[in-house]
Symmetry: C2
DNA sequence: AATAAAGTTTAGGTAAATCTAAATAAATAA
DNA sequence: TTATTTATTTAGATTTACCTAAACTTTATT
C-alpha cells in the first residue's frame, strides 16, 4: 500500500464517509464542507488522488473511491476506531472526548502497532460510538440497523450511534444525558422547524433541533 | 505553552539532546547531522525558534534552549518515553522496535492524554532504554551514573542505556544479545581503530567498532 | 599574520497544502 | 431557451520546511 500524507488520508476518509451517507458521486462542495476547506483546495487534491489511483474523478463529475481507495479508507477507519476504544476502555476518557484525539493517533501508520493494539483491546468489534471496526483485512460488520432520529417513526427509541463526532455536539448530548444505549421517548414533533421534544426516564422533557436530531441514530425498542 | 509544529518539536528535542551531551552551544552543523538535514535548513529554523523565544541564537554563535525551550523539550521527551513504555509493557514490542513508533506518537499533543497514559502505566520513572521520564511538571530524575563503553575503565560492565536509538543499531545489539542489564566482559581494546572485543556470559567473544561502543552506556559492576 | 579549511549564512528555488479572485461549466428558473 | 444562480475549476499567491550554490565568518595551519 502506498504512503499517504495526513492530508491525503483525511480526504480519503471524508470521501468514504460521504459515499456511505449515500452520495452517488461526492461533490467538490460537499467534500470542502466536510473537511472545512475551500472547493479550490479539493479540486487540487482530487487531481493528486486520481494520480495515485485512489479515486476516480473527472472534471465537474464528482469523486468516487476506487477499490484501492476504499481499502485505504477502511484501514484509516480501523486505526481511528481502535484508538477510540483504547482511550475509552484503557484511559477512561469519556465518549465525547475521544474523537479529536483519535483523529491524530489514526495517522500513525503501522500495521504491527494497530494489530497489536487490537489484540490488546480484545479485538473489539465496535467503537465507543457504536460504529463497527474493520478487521485487518478491511472487512467491516454491517452497521446495525439504525435511523436518524429525525426520520424515526416510533415513540420509544434507543440511541445506537452518533454520526457527527464534533466535540461540540457530543458535549451537548452528554449534558442532556444522551449517550449510547440511552432510551428516549418522543413527546412531540414540531413541524414548523422540525424540532423534537424528548424525555429520558424520569428527567424533565427538553427540545432538540433538527440539526441535532439528524445526527442521533436510533432503533425502535 | 505555544503550539509547535512537528518539525519545530523535532528541532527542540535534538537541541536538548546535544546540550545534554555536553555541547556548550549547539552548532548548526551538529544539529543538521542529528536531524539528518542540511545546515542551511537549520539556520532557517533557528531564526523561527528564536522568534518564538525557545532558543537563544546569534549568527555564527550556535544555539541554546531558553527556559521555555527546555520546558518544551522535557514535555516532548516525556511523551516519547511514555509511549515507549506503553509499546513495550502493554503491546509487547521489543526494545529496539519502539523508538520510531514513539517518534510519531510523541507529536500528539494532549496534556490529558499523556497524564492518563502515565497513570495507566503506573507512572513509570524510566523508559525501556533506561532513560528517566520527566514528570508532568518537567522534572526529570538524574540519569543514572553511566559511561560510554569506549571510555569505561573496568573490565566487567553492565549495560544501562543505549544513547543512539536508530533501529539499525538497536537491531545489531539485539542480534549480539546486548540489551538493558546485560553484563559484558571486556576482553581487549584495540588501539589502532578503538574497536573492543567483548564477551557475554558463556557465548563466544565478538568485536564491536568504536562507533558502536560510543553508544553503549555502561556502569561498572 | 596570511592563508587554507571548515562552518555558517544568504539568496533563490521547490513541493505540499492551502488560499482568493476570476473564469468557466452545469443546473435551475423565468 | 435564454438568463441567472450555483458549482467547479484555473490562475496566481502564500506558508512551511526543505534544498543547492554561492558568499561570507571563524578557526586552524603554516
Amino acid at each position: 500500500m502506498m504512503n499517504l500524507t495526513i492530508a491525503e488520508e483525511n480526504y480519503i476518509k471524508s470521501i468514504y464517509k460521504l459515499e456511505e451517507e449515500g452520495q452517488e458521486a461526492v461533490s467538490t462542495n460537499a467534500l470542502a464542507g466536510e473537511l472545512e476547506t475551500k472547493p479550490a483546495s479539493v479540486t487540487d487534491m482530487a487531481k493528486k488522488l486520481k494520480e495515485k489511483k485512489l479515486i476516480s474523478y473527472e472534471k465537474y463529475q464528482g469523486i468516487n473511491l476506487t477499490p484501492d481507495g476504499k481499502k485505504a479508507a477502511l484501514n484509516i477507519i480501523r486505526r481511528h476506531r481502535l484508538w477510540e476504544c483504547f482511550l475509552v476502555d484503557k484511559l477512561s476518557f469519556s465518549w465525547e472526548e475521544v474523537h479529536e484525539l483519535a483523529e491524530e493517533l489514526e495517522h500513525v501508520r503501522s500495521e504491527k502497532l494497530i494489530n497489536r493494539l487490537s489484540e490488546f483491546l480484545g479485538n473489539p468489534q465496535i467503537d465507543p460510538h457504536g460504529d463497527p471496526i474493520p478487521d485487518a483485512q478491511g472487512k467491516m460488520g454491517k452497521p446495525r440497523p439504525q435511523t436518524p432520529l429525525d426520520k424515526a417513526r416510533s415513540k420509544r427509541l434507543e440511541v445506537v450511534a452518533v454520526s457527527d463526532k464534533s466535540t461540540a455536539l457530543l458535549e451537548f448530548l452528554n449534558a442532556k444525558g444522551i449517550r449510547l444505549g440511552t432510551q428516549l421517548d418522543v413527546i412531540e414533533r414540531y413541524e414548523f422547524d422540525n424540532s423534537i421534544e424528548l424525555k429520558i426516564r424520569n428527567q424533565p422533557a427538553f427540545t432538540i433541533s433538527e440539526q441535532v436530531s439528524k445526527n442521533i441514530m436510533v432503533k425502535p425498542i
